[in-house]
């Protein structure tokens, strides 16, 4: 029975992906991409990866879709590309070759994926948290996560440098929007804090919490309550930078206390992880909002 479900879900994922890549209309393509992300998330829940599925639905599908829609507004519709027969044949051979090798790889390497697992199992007791994904992200491989935050900040700087242009005009959202906002904005903060706390033992964590917080901030942004130009942008910038600052500070402090970079003192791991994750949540929420809204300093360009 579940096999039928799997096959149908697999077919839906492939079909929505193909629609997203080939639809002649931009809005249709982006809508297909949104649906595609949600179905992929569903397939990952099926494979026992709810943490990843949540992040894919919120960030990979929702926020990326919003970014794409925002960008597509100012772009001309796609013109059909002329492709010569040899070009097309080369593309087919490359694509089919890479896909075939990927599909074949799993059949010849069935036991390849069990290298790290015993190490995680053996050390999870020392990590301060019981969700293995959080333990890997914030303790065993905290260095990777720190650099990931730096990547986010670098992307934000690039967007800020490239997009100091005309103000996006907000459509009037009608009289029902402020009451909606009064419910949604506090709810997103609650949900975000809940996911953050839950991340230590169950699916959840800083990235999912940050994405939910970004949703709330975006709702405020659309309502005009939160402005990302003029002097109001400075607190958001401070929040965006804070994640890296707190993470680096914690790493150096841990170095001073234990002699190893990002090796938290024994017994206090959970407090350290939660402190870092709280800073990351606020930072990710602010960074994602700024990536969406773009940044405008007054009078930078005509």
């Amino acid at each position: 029975m579940m096999t039928v479900f799997d096959v149908m879900l697999a077919a839906t994922i492939l079909w929505t992906a193909w629609t997203a890549l080939t639809a002649p209309d931009r809005t249709a393509a982006i809508a297909a991409f949104l649906v595609f992300g949600l179905f992929v998330g569903l397939s990952w829940v099926r494979l026992g990866a709810p943490d990843v599925a949540m992040a894919e639905a919120a960030i990979g599908s929702g926020l990326t879709g919003a970014l794409l829609l925002r960008a597509s507004r100012g772009m001309t519709p796609p013109a059909p590309t002329r492709v010569t027969a040899p070009h097309r044949a080369a593309a087919v051979i490359t694509a089919a070759g890479v896909a075939g090798v990927l599909a074949w790889a799993v059949l010849v390497l069935p036991e390849a994926a069990v290298v790290y697992d015993p190490l995680v199992d053996a050390n999870i007791g020392d990590s301060g948290v019981s969700n293995p994904v959080t333990a890997v992200l914030l303790n065993f491989r905290a260095w990777d996560t720190l650099l990931e935050l730096v990547v986010l900040l670098a992307a934000l700087l690039l967007v800020a440098a490239l997009r100091p242009i005309r103000a996006a005009r907000m459509a009037d959202l009608g009289p029902l929007y402020p009451p909606f906002l009064r419910i949604m904005a506090p709810l997103s903060i609650f949900l975000s804090a809940h996911l953050l706390w839950l991340g230590t033992s169950d699916p959840g964590g800083a990235f999912q919490a940050g994405a939910v917080l970004c949703g709330g901030l975006l709702a405020l942004f659309f309502g005009g309550t939160l402005k990302t130009d003029g002097p109001d942008v400075m607190p958001l910038w401070a929040l965006a930078v804070m994640g890296v600052v707190v993470f680096v500070g914690a790493g150096l402090l841990a170095e001073a206390l234990t002699g190893t970079l990002l090796e938290y003192p024994d017994g206090a791991d959970k407090a350290w992880i939660l402190t870092i994750e709280s800073a990351l949540t606020l930072s990710i929420g602010a960074t994602l909002l700024l990536l969406f809204s773009g940044l405008r300093q007054g009078g930078a360009r005509p």
């Binding site: 890549l21 080939t22 026992g48 992200l137 990931e148 990710i284």
Partner: protein, 99 residues
């Protein structure tokens, strides 16, 4: 069994995305293709981490994929800003070069 099906889906997504990235000149479609490519690779990793319905899956590939999703959104935002800039200044830049 489900891991094999979704592993195949991941491989199929990678193939589709590579094909469209190679045969379409439109910038937004190429950015979409990059996203589908990344999701395809993530699907292969998540499928590789699965070991049956009653055994907890391997957490390390999951952490890789989570990191990948966040990096991907940052890359997408940066690419979209570049594409918008090209779209807007592309013609003006050409005019200036002609003068």
């Amino acid at each position: 069994m489900p891991d094999l099906i979704y592993h195949g889906v991941g491989a199929g997504l990678v193939g589709m995305a590579l094909y469209r990235a190679a045969t379409c000149a439109d910038l937004l479609t190429r950015i979409l293709a990059l996203n589908v490519l990344a999701v395809g690779i993530a699907a292969v990793l998540v499928a590789a981490a699965y070991r049956g319905s009653d055994v907890p899956p391997d957490a390390v590939p999951h952490a890789f994929v989570l990191t990948g999703i966040v990096v991907l959104v940052a890359v997408t935002a940066a690419l979209l800003a570049l594409a918008e800039r090209l779209e807007r200044d592309g013609d003006a830049g050409r005019d200036n070069a002609d003068e």
